[in-house]
């Protein structure tokens, strides 16, 4: 469960004030909003990369407002993916497990499981610098899921992908969420993506974060996309 209570974040001239959010356990939530509204800022506040000026961040009922990012157990897929350029795909999947001093056998088993679920078995030995967009997204997702996080945050994870890759990854995200039961917050601009994935919809507009009914995502008469 992800809860934000009366969060205020100030950074230079930018400010988000009195933001409230509640995503129940095992729910796939989508956050939409225009560019520069502060969607990424909200994700960073949840995972601890951005300090909040006031308010509280609760994950699965625990107040983590002052916790370090590494202690929060948040799987984070940033917009630019931020893969580790000097590591192999296997290194990415192993990283958080090595940090947690997991046994070699456990690491091996988890990496094999993730690689199978994400369909990246053949990429494990490759460096990430030569991967395609879709492959990189899968690696970033695998890295975020590797340590069985409490919640999963994704910042426009399917951005800049072609339509068929995006559809396949949407399918993958849906099945991963079903399998893991992870509470997920997915930021996107795409109504199609939101329609395919959202169980709850939040919209950030003019500094106000509001829950909207899913019917808001029904195809517009002018929309010419497959669902």
């Amino acid at each position: 469960m992800i809860e934000l209570h009366d969060i205020t974040i100030r950074s230079g001239p930018f400010a988000l004030t009195n933001v409230d959010l509640s995503i129940p356990e095992n729910t796939y939530a989508v956050l939409m909003g225009g560019t520069g509204q502060g969607k990424t800022t909200i994700l960073e506040a949840i995972c601890g990369l951005r300090a909040v000026t006031s308010g509280r961040v609760l994950l699965n009922g625990s107040d983590m407002t002052c916790w370090k990012p590494g202690d929060r157990g948040v799987g984070y897929v940033p917009q630019d993916l931020a893969l580790f350029p000097m590591m192999t795909v296997r290194g990415h999947l192993e990283f958080a497990l090595r940090v947690r001093h997991c046994s070699t056998a456990m690491i091996k088993e988890r990496v094999a499981e993730l690689a199978h679920v994400l369909g990246i078995e053949s990429l494990l030995a490759r460096r990430v610098t030569n991967l395609s967009g879709g492959e990189s997204q899968r690696v970033a997702l695998g890295r975020a899921l590797s340590f069985r996080p409490r919640v999963l945050l994704m910042d426009e994870p399917l951005n800049a992908l072609d339509e068929s890759t995006r559809d396949r990854l949407c399918e993958l995200l849906r099945s991963v969420q079903k399998q893991t039961g992870l509470t997920t917050l997915h930021v996107t601009h795409s109504r199609v993506e939101a329609r395919n994935l959202a169980e709850k919809l939040f919209v950030l507009e003019s500094g106000q974060l509001r829950e909207q009914p899913l019917t808001q995502l029904n195809p517009l008469p002018t929309e010419n996309t497959k669902t």
Binding site: L49, V74, L83, F95
Partner: protein
């Protein structure tokens, strides 16, 4: 807009456009930049014309110069390694963290870069001999570690390090500035401590900068003269490095030997820079 047929015909927009030749661009840019290259080549050519293989052999066969070559190679290498050891963490901290008083640290680091080298040597000399009660730093080093610093080999390394490290810090800071911090932030969310983020994420990406900083520190150490002269002296067979050899040979009128040693320094610098850059490039690949 209603252009008459005549004005439409003469309008620049109505005519096919040609970008024209880039020859003048390359002549001006190449000419300006090339003048510096020409100056360096002319200086080296003049040195080469002035000396002969006979002078080289004569200079290299002198035991004092052989000893100076040895001390130069060892002291420059130690100084460059020490510089990297210090500059890497300092460059990382300055690049990644904002804290009160950072401007003061920035200014302090730049002092060895802007000060006349002689002043660095003088300051080191005063530091080691400033009375601390009934003792001084030099005496503490001798009593505690049995290490004589002033006018001995450690003074050569310290004098070189004092200047070379400032350049290495600048290089490492720029290196870390150019590395995107997002990967490090993600590593933090994966449960890492800062130390692990530095060692496993930032440092492997900084290889090119480390090689560059090592090269710069080594080259600065090779060229250091003023601080060494003041703090370590120019005692033959003891604290003489190649830069002081040139000075000593000149002071006794041995111009040919001075030029031969100068060319030797040029060759040593080119060899080290070439090898380090080659290794650095391979490391990146």
């Amino acid at each position: 807009m209603s252009d008459s047929p005549t004005t439409a015909h003469t309008s620049p927009l109505a005519r096919p456009h040609r970008a024209g030749s880039d020859v003048s661009f390359f002549i001006v840019m190449g000419g300006l930049g090339g003048s510096f290259i020409l100056l360096i080549v002319a200086m080296l050519a003049a040195d080469l014309a002035f000396t002969s293989p006979k002078h080289f052999v004569a200079a290299l066969s002198k035991p004092e110069i052989q000893r100076a070559i040895q001390l130069t190679l060892v002291s420059c290498s130690i100084s460059a390694l020490l510089s990297i050891w210090v500059a890497t963490p300092l460059g990382y901290l300055l690049s990644r963290f904002s804290f009160r008083g950072r401007w003061l640290i920035d200014t302090l680091i730049d002092i060895p870069v802007v000060l006349p080298p002689l002043v660095i040597g003088l300051s080191l000399l005063i530091l080691f001999h400033l009375p601390l009660g009934d003792t001084n730093l030099e005496r503490i080093m001798q009593d505690s570690f049995g290490l004589r610093v002033t006018y001995a080999e450690p003074a050569v390394v310290l004098a070189q390090f004092s200047v070379a490290c400032a350049f290495a810090v600048q290089t490492m800071r720029v290196t870390f500035d150019q590395i995107d911090t997002r990967a490090e932030q993600v590593a933090l969310t994966l449960g890492c401590r800062r130390s692990r983020v530095f060692l496993e994420i930032a440092l492997p990406q900084a290889w090119r900068g480390i090689v560059a900083a090592l090269t710069i520190a080594w080259a600065r150490s090779l060229g250091e003269f003023g601080p060494i002269l003041v703090f370590a002296g120019a005692t033959r067979m003891r604290t003489e490095v190649l830069s002081t050899t040139v000075f000593l040979e000149l002071s006794v009128g041995q111009l040919e030997a001075a030029v031969a040693v100068s060319l030797l320094m040029v060759l040593a610098a080119m060899a080290v820079l070439g090898v380090v850059r080659l290794v650095g490039t391979k490391v990146i690949r």
